[in-house]
Structures are given as structure tokens and as C-alpha cells.
């Protein structure tokens, strides 16, 4: 269960896809102080355009309690056109259209509800462009 400040501080990345581009070319969606590749501390703030490619995926049939009412659902690792890597649920897509190499668009969606009195979690999901 997230309290509101834990949730709010990730909003720039989850809602607006604000990311950092480092000199090595590494692009990080979560904020970082240091480039994990080069160790350099300079970076450029960028906003991901929201398009990318599926590198691998799975269909989850057994989920944690927070997600159990959504099973089966697909999750994929995506590389955006800017080179950022992220893990996202696949939405609005038939399972048979999910393939390694498929192009996706990131869309803003509800992720899950933290019970009756918790926060409603929002963020990005990926939609396969057929």
C-alpha cells in the first residue's frame, strides 16, 4: 500500500514519461544521479514520445493479490524509440497480436486499486499497434 507521498513522487515518470538521457546513450525512466554505464553525472531531461518495441513478454496467470482480479494479463519489456527500457502491462490488444518485435504505443491507464480505501494507481501501459 502506497501512501500519497510515495505515490506522488513517481508521477512525473509514470504519468508524463519524464526521463533522463545520459552521455553513454543510456536512457532512464526512473530518476538517477549517475549514468550506470559511464558513471558520469551529466544528463539531459527528455520526455519519451511513447512509442517503442516489445523485446520480450509473458502472460501472467498467477498474480499478487493486487492484480489477481485482472488475470490473465500480459506484461512486456519495451524499448522506447529513445532507448529507454521499461516493463509495462499490455492493454487493448489480443494476446495473439503480442509478439517480440511488435511496435507499441504507451497509453495512460489505471493500473490497479489498493483495496477499498487505498489509492487508485495510474500509469503507462503498452498497446500493440497492429
Amino acid at each position: 500500500m502506497a501512501n500519497s507521498q510515495r505515490y506522488t513522487r513517481e508521477i512525473p515518470h509514470r504519468y508524463r514519461l519524464e526521463a533522463q538521457k545520459f552521455p553513454s546513450g543510456f536512457v532512464s525512466l526512473p530518476r538517477r544521479l549517475v549514468d550506470p554505464i559511464s558513471g558520469k553525472k551529466e544528463f539531459e531531461k527528455i520526455k519519451l514520445a511513447g512509442f517503442g518495441t516489445i523485446l520480450t513478454y509473458t502472460i501472467i496467470h498467477v498474480a499478487s493479490d493486487h492484480f489477481k482480479f485482472q488475470t490473465p494479463f500480459a506484461v512486456a519489456i519495451i524499448e522506447t524509440d529513445e532507448g529507454a527500457r521499461l516493463t509495462a502491462m499490455i492493454t487493448d490488444t489480443k494476446f495473439e497480436d503480442i509478439k517480440i518485435g511488435a511496435k507499441v504505443e504507451l497509453v495512460f491507464r489505471k493500473i490497479m486499486e489498493e483495496g477499498a480505501s487505498g489509492i487508485i494507481n495510474y500509469g503507462y501501459k503498452a498497446k500493440v499497434i497492429v
Binding site: E10, R14, L29, P30, P36, L55, T56, Y57, T58, I59, I60, H61, V62, A63, S64, D65, H66, F67, Q70, P72, F73, V75, A76, I77, I78, R85, L86, T87, A88, M89, I100, I111, M112, N121, G123, K125
Partner: protein, 382 residues
């Protein structure tokens, strides 16, 4: 640095231990190890556990366990590195003895997994909580994505992948401490329920209660206690990215490669010198990728090699003679220590029907998360 020996071991049976709480299990394993090593007093204690807080609502295991094994007063601390907590605790104990700080060190691992309902959530805390688990991915899901990428890149078939758990269950038949000491066949694997496509229930290590402990001392003092001891010849540890998506190549676990190289270099041996290896087969695909990273097979060829019998008795190298995590059981924090115990049994010729003949050098490989941490030990019989 001083040379370090393992002079005694003890463990609980692995399984659903409804009668025992976390301290009962640890105390049973610790007292067995102390009796086995003929020691009554220890100088320091390291306890590996991944998530005793979420699994057993208990932190501060150093104090708890020192108290309940009758060793109050010794320095005692818990070591955490997700599923590699046990192996990392062994490494800390090794450093403690090697440095000259302490002589008799007890290293244990423990996990009480059957007391909570949502174990899937607990395990997912070893991933990037805000950027992986937040988006619904589970641990089987992460390894399923490695499996999917590997199968696509190298053409590994679903049937070949199934040979990993089939082999490990076969090995476990001769392990009296194993959770599932029975054989399974291809049909059982392929008909088991889907967990995270393409991984099915029989690709996944189980939920297990258990504890495992060992006693370390300087090699030159080992004979004071026992004539059955082994030398820790190499130790290597490494970290990897916390998130699977930040692994450049999704068919690799580079922390395993790094930890392996460090252990090989320290021990002065190569993969060809290793007689058996206990690897972290949390999921069937993990055993294949790990065996490649440790240099036993070329990249992309491990799956087919294991399916052809190269990972069992009579093959290139015996992988997981204990039955591995899949069949022996995987009480997360205890696993890394239990792997060392299997190596100890093999190298002191006490492994019974699962004895690897003429085993002289053995390896253990324990990892956390989706390759976020890894620790490798190379042990030598004396």
C-alpha cells in the same frame, strides 16, 4: 587472508513445516551444525533471510537466533540479498574468518514462507518495486520473459526446457531432506497449470519452509574439531541491474558471469575442474542461463545440452545433485546455505545414493532477483 574450512553442517527437512516457527527451524539447523562440528561456543553469527519481516513479521534475526541457540553475547547480524541472502551470509562468514577477526563462525539461512497468503507479493519485493512490481509483473513473470527471449533467440523448445525440472526431481529422489523427492515426467510438466507463459507450475521452485546452517573455522584449526571438513577455495560475488529490463541482453544474467569469474580466479580453477555444481534453478530457464554464464556450456547451447543428459550423472557435469531448488525446495534465505551443505556432503563422501563419484571440487551458485545479485563458492574436499 587465512584459508577457511567448513567443519560441520545441519539443516531441517525442507517442506511445509507447520509445527515449527522461524526460530524453531533455525535453532534445529544451528544446533545440528554445532553438534556435527563438535563446537559448543561460537564467536560470531550471520543469518541469511530474504524477507522475515513480510513472511514471519519478524526482523532482527541476529538477536533472535543468537538468543535461541544459547549464544547470547556474540556479534550477530542478518544478511539480506533477496534469494541470495544465504549465499551472501556464507560469504560474510568467510570474510570474517579469513580476516582473522573470528575463529568459529556460524552461518545460517532461514525462511518461513508458508505462514502468509500472498507470497507472490513478497517475492516481487526483490524486483524494482516502483517500476516492475507496480506494473503487475511477478517473479515467475520476469523469468518467463527471460525464457521467451531465450527460446526465440536460440530455438529452445518447450519440451527441452521441461527436462530441467524432470532431471532435478530425479536427483531429489535420493535426498532425504528434499521437499518433493519423487520423479515427474514430461506430461506432468506440460500439463501443469500455467503460471506465467511459457512457464508452468512445474518450471517453478516451490514455496518452502526450512533452515540450513554451517560452521566455519580457519583451515589450520579444522582438525581440532573433525576429520570431515572442506576448504572454501574460491568466493565470488557480483551485482547486476535491479530491473530485468535494464539487462542489455535479456537472455543473460551477467552478475552470474562476474561472480563465477571472480570465484574461478580466486580458486585458480576452470569450469573443467568442477565435478558438480549446485545452481539457483528458481525457474527451469534459470538453470540453463546460469550453467552458460558459469562456462559449463556455450551461450545458447545449455538447454539442449541439459535435455541431452549433459547435466546429470554420466554427463559433462552433474548439475544440482541435491534436486535443486525445484525439487529439494527453496526456502529463500536458506537456499544458499543448503547448496553449500550439499557440496559439503558430496566432498566428504556423505551424499549416499546421490554421491558424485570422485568429487573433489564443487561449486555453488546462489542469486537474488532477476540476476540483481549473485554469489558463487568453489569448495574443495580435503
Amino acid at each position: 587472508m587465512r584459508d577457511v574450512a567448513i567443519i560441520g553442517v545441519g539443516m531441517t527437512k525442507f517442506g511445509e513445516l507447520w509445527e515449527q516457527n522461524i526460530r524453531d527451524m533455525f535453532a534445529e539447523a544451528a544446533l545440528k551444525a554445532m553438534e556435527n562440528a563438535n563446537v559448543e561456543k561460537i564467536d560470531a553469527l550471520y543469518v541469511g533471510a530474504m524477507s522475515s519481516g513480510l513472511y514471519a513479521f519478524q526482523e532482527h534475526l541476529g538477536s533472535l537466533m543468537a538468543d535461541y541457540i544459547g549464544q547470547v553475547g556474540v556479534p550477530a547480524v542478518r544478511i539480506e540479498s533477496a534469494c541470495s541472502s544465504g549465499g551472501q551470509a556464507v560469504r560474510m562468514g568467510f570474510l570474517d574468518v579469513a580476516s582473522g577477526m573470528h575463529d568459529i563462525v556460524l552461518v545460517g539461512g532461514v525462511e518461513k514462507m508458508w505462514d502468509v497468503e500472498d507470497g507472490t507479493f513478497v517475492l516481487a519485493t526483490a524486483s524494482d518495486q516502483e517500476y516492475e512490481a507496480y506494473n503487475g509483473v511477478t517473479f515467475p513473470g520476469l523469468y518467463a520473459m527471460i525464457a521467451r527471449a531465450y527460446m526465440e533467440k536460440y530455438g529452445l523448445t518447450r519440451e527441452e526446457l521441461a527436462q530441467v525440472p524432470i532431471k532435478n526431481h530425479k536427483h531429489a529422489v535420493n535426498n532425504p531432506n528434499a521437499q518433493y523427492p519423487f520423479e515427474i515426467d514430461l506430461k506432468t510438466v506440460l500439463n501443469s497449470s500455467m503460471v506465467a507463459d511459457p512457464l508452468r507450475l512445474m518450471d517453478c521452485s516451490p514455496i518452502t519452509d526450512g533452515a540450513a546452517c554451517i560452521i566455519l573455522c580457519p583451515l589450520d584449526r579444522a582438525k581440532e574439531f573433525t576429520d570431515k571438513y572442506v576448504k572454501i577455495r574460491g568466493v565470488g560475488a557480483a551485482s547486476g541491474p535491479i530491473a530485468l529490463h535494464d539487462h542489455k541482453d535479456l537472455t543473460r544474467l551477467e552478475a552470474v558471469f562476474l561472480a563465477g569469474q571472480r570465484a574461478y580466479n580466486m580458486a585458480g580453477v576452470t569450469p573443467n575442474d568442477i565435478n558438480f555444481v549446485e545452481v539457483h534453478d528458481c525457474f527451469s530457464i534459470a538453470e540453463i542461463v546460469v550453467a552458460e554464464e558459469l562456462g559449463f556450456f556455450e551461450y545458447g547451447k545449455g538447454g539442449k545440452a541439459i535435455a541431452e543428459g549433459q547435466g546429470t550423472y554420466g554427463g559433462k557435469i552433474v548439475i544440482n545433485p541435491s534436486g535443486g531448488l525445484k525439487a529439494k525446495g527453496h526456502p529463500v534465505g536458506a537456499t544458499g546455505v543448503a547448496q553449500i551443505i550439499e557440496a559439503y556432503y558430496q566432498l566428504t563422501n556423505q551424499a549416499g545414493k546421490r554421491q558424485v563419484q570422485n568429487a573433489r571440487i564443487g561449486m555453488t551458485q546462489n542469486m537474488g532477483g532477476s540476476g540483481g545479485s549473485c554469489v558463487v563458492h568453489i569448495l574443495e574436499g580435503m
